[in-house]
Symmetry: none
Subunit: 188 residues, 4 copies
DNA sequence: CATGAATGAGTATTCATTCAT
DNA sequence: AATGAATGAATACTCATTCAT
């Protein structure tokens, strides 16, 4: 599809540039050149620079969420295996793309759009549900699964955010999963 | 001291404004007005808008680090108590000040200045040392204290970053401390 | 040609304004308004205010040089007639345009560029060649035509530079030509 | 005298800096530092930057004028010797100091102050008077000594203005004097 | 007299956005 | 649909000048 193709090219270009520089240093003319489209074309697909910026973040986040939903929906996996898999995905996410992105600058108030709130809520709810299932099965012990759900992405962000080149995904995934499961295992 | 006073006023004003708006929406003229100094005066103390921005972040971070060092140096506290105290400080940090700040955006490549690297390294080393001490005392079990040290700030960031108004510091602190200690307790 | 047209309009506007006021009193916004273009458009054609300034001087000088080359290349004119014609052109040049320009301010060190050095060298070489031809023909006598070539523009600058309104071009041209030819005539 | 000393130091510093850079690139703080006085001190002796600038030009010009008056008043010199001496002074003037000065830019409308007009008029009148005396003695022939007087400074400016390092004052003085005298000698 | 920290009016420059082609 | 030349609102930064010490 011609339309989608062009839109994708723009998003790819923007993702690349926003990952390297903060918002206000990325020029739309650079985005256009990188995407090999005219400057005006950007406005056929996105209403403003901010729009484009959030479209990039959104796509990234959406991809992640889709993968996590797949894991959460897999009936073959026990809660601990699901959590381990999610930890792995999050590690990959933060390490590969969002890492730079986040670090370099969520420049604008991540829009209080319902879209975003809902998206984030979905992510947390998904993790929370797994924890609750584990608790119900007597596998986990947690007084506040809602809170614990918030720890997990943050924890991996902390692990992967800096010095990404020195980070071994597999090692981090394994260690972090073990830490999380340990944290959920104990009688508290 | 007159000099420091003025510098402090500027930093306070800038911290306040940067906390409410993204970098490129904060006008230096607003900073000057809020600080009740002339626009040119800003440049007597900071070389550029970016400079000022990072000075704000830096001061915040520095204050946190100082408090954490106090905890780490307290001989009356066992490793678990130290970790709990640190978790509390981090919660307060992310919730109160950095919350807004961070959320709005680390706008610019957190400068690869050695200053920053060292500062962050100090923070992690401090936490890592406590974990190692706990391991040595048989109180904790951890294959990679370096990595675990990275989890802790991230974890609290995740917990406190969004919906700060709905977050109960004490509850978060207690729960997070318990989660962390649990994670370090188990035989792994 | 649309492009050239716009560039010309900008140069015309700038020439006019720079002729009336010193560099630092000419606002780019005035140039833009006078040229009936947007302020940003100036930067499509010139890199900076300085750039624009020198482009104006350069165009002026270039026009003069072109006319002088025409005179120098005219085979119908003997050296003395050529010199007289050149004196006339220089008088017109200094009186009409460059007069104000020069007086009001050669603000910036112009000569760094090779462009300028070469241009000036061309002008002098052209005059020098005519003198040498006259000397070869036994019409002039001069031990150092290179030096004499330098006198001629300066001499007319001196004559026309001040109180331009009181200056009669034709009278100056005639008198100056006569003075120069006299100076070259004698046995020295 | 302390006062005069300080004023002289400021003028020297300013002369040096204005000679190297155009008006708007010379910072008063640089002038102050070079003169080893406080920035505020400048305003004890000069009312503004422009004032200082013109004071520099004025002092330069005044020194020259004084020397020329000495020559003009010397009863031992015939008009041709006086003109030769004046040519020499002008060459030195343009070569040494004013050269740079002028070249870099008379930035501002050389103030229409009567001071300046009078000063310049004095210079020209002085030369004109010599020419007229020569004409009266039958030594020179000139239809318009007023005009010729204007040529002489300009002519030397042209000779000395560019590539000052390559210019041999003595050679220029001799050649220029000869040229001028030649120009005045002929029956026209 | 001398100072230099403080000032803020003044302006060059940038860059998201538009629209004629 | 696609373009990119043209735009001008928006803003960081400079530097002559002042005045409390």
């Amino acid at each position: 599809m011609e339309y989608t193709d062009k839109q994708e090219r723009i998003l790819d270009a923007a993702a690349d540039l926003f990952a390297r520089q903060p918002f206000h240093k990325v020029l739309l003319s650079d985005v256009a050149r990188t995407a090999a489209v005219g400057k005006g074309t950007l406005y056929l697909y996105f209403n403003s620079k901010e729009d484009l910026y959030f479209a990039v973040l959104y796509r990234e986040f959406d991809n992640l969420l889709t993968r996590l939903k797949g894991i959460a929906a897999d009936p073959a996996l026990a809660p601990d295996a699901q959590l381990s898999a999610i930890v792995g995905e999050l590690a990959r996410h933060f390490l590969k793309k969002a890492a730079n992105m986040d670090m370099q600058g969520v420049v604008l108030t991540c829009p209080s759009t319902d879209d975003w709130r809902l998206r984030r809520a979905e992510l947390l709810a998904l993790i929370e549900a797994i924890i609750r299932r584990g608790v119900a099965m007597g596998m986990f012990h947690d007084q506040d699964p809602r809170l614990t759900a918030k720890y997990i992405p943050g924890l991996l962000r902390g692990a992967c955010h800096f010095e990404p080149q020195d980070t071994d995904i597999e090692a981090v995934s394994r260690h972090a999963a073990s830490f999380v499961l340990q944290g959920l295992a104990g009688k508290d």
